[in-house]
């Protein structure tokens, strides 16, 4: 009985969490602002970074979490803070796949609004250093 109650509680929690995010609106904003380069399934192309089965890696450190908002495609996009937060949450839920970290604390419009005030300029070097830091942090664990 306890197990049944736990499962029911989990199901309820999942549906409540999903309600905060409108998948149709998020996907439309992804299509209009991200998909042209990152591809419909987040797989990227050549120099365009892959998000599929990869984007979750950034969420294992605070700097990585901030990077996903400060990267120019996010920070200077035409989306407002609420739309950007929703699209980022949708990207993580949809594409993180094998790279997903649990639990994933959803981005809020306030957090996104604050972080996008510091967009990254030297993004390629910054990203490489960030990933090296994440890899060595994972090794230490």
């Amino acid at each position: 009985m306890k197990t049944v109650l736990t499962i029911l509680a989990l199901l309820l929690a999942t549906s409540l969490e999903a309600a905060e995010l409108n998948p149709q609106r998020a996907q439309f904003n992804y299509q209009m602002s991200c998909q042209g380069c990152h591809a419909p399934d987040g797989s990227g192309a050549n120099a365009v970074p892959r998000m599929r089965d990869y984007v979750g890696n950034f969420l294992s450190t605070q700097a990585g979490r901030e990077y996903l908002v400060r990267v120019p495609g996010s920070a200077v996009s035409a989306l407002d803070d609420a739309e950007l937060a929703e699209v980022l949450n949708w990207i993580v839920l949809e594409f993180a796949g094998s790279s997903a970290v649990q639990p994933f604390e959803h981005y809020s419009p306030q957090e996104v609004g604050r972080l996008r005030q510091q967009p990254l300029n030297e993004v390629v070097q910054y990203r490489a250093q960030l990933l090296a830091d994440i890899a060595s942090a994972n090794l230490r664990e």
Partner: protein
């Protein structure tokens, strides 16, 4: 009459026995239970909703895909692949479709809805030269690089030589709030 009754009795008896031998009552309960629980959980799965949004289906369309006036070309700037040996959805033989593309929306006059259109360029041969169209609705200057059609979108392909443009329906525009 009795003969017919007897025949019917035998037929039904035979069929009932066969059915009883083929199926188990537990099996029946299992299937029914599975269906009940399964059907209940479907609306909870975000996957189902995502899949529904992903497939724009095949919108009812009208017009000529080899004319600049065709509804999907509302933001086009280039040669129509429909006039170059390909179609509005496919590249002509000998060219490669760019995976990097610019995306906008166009209103379909057949159903009055707005659709998300991906203007994938076909690359690898010199300019097609047929059916040059420039409608540019929603086109932005190059300081908004993701929303401009003034740059060569042959990115991510083996060759950066532009040949023609497609206009593929990739979704339905979200029009709520």
């Amino acid at each position: 009459m009795k003969l017919i009754d007897g025949l019917f009795d035998k037929l039904f008896e035979q069929q009932t026995r066969q059915l009883a031998q083929r199926s188990s009552r537990r099996g029946m309960l299992k299937t029914l239970g599975g269906l009940l629980v399964g059907a209940g959980s479907i609306p909870l799965l975000p996957v189902a909703r995502a899949a529904a949004a992903e497939s724009p289906g095949h919108p009812v369309e009208e017009g000529d895909p080899s004319s600049c006036d065709y509804w999907r070309y509302c933001a086009i700037d280039g040669f129509l692949c429909s006039c170059c040996g390909g179609s509005e959805n496919t590249c002509p033989p000998g060219t490669e479709m760019s995976p990097v593309t610019w995306i906008g929306t166009c209103r379909n006059p057949a159903d009055g809805r707005n659709y998300v259109i991906s203007y994938n360029d076909c690359c690898g041969k010199s300019s097609c030269g047929a059916c040059l169209c420039q409608r540019d609705e929603g086109d932005r200057p190059p300081y908004r690089p993701d929303k401009t059609n003034d740059i060569n979108w042959c990115l991510g392909t083996a060759s950066a030589t532009y040949h023609c443009s497609t206009a593929i329906v990739v979704g339905v525009a979200f029009e709520g709030k």
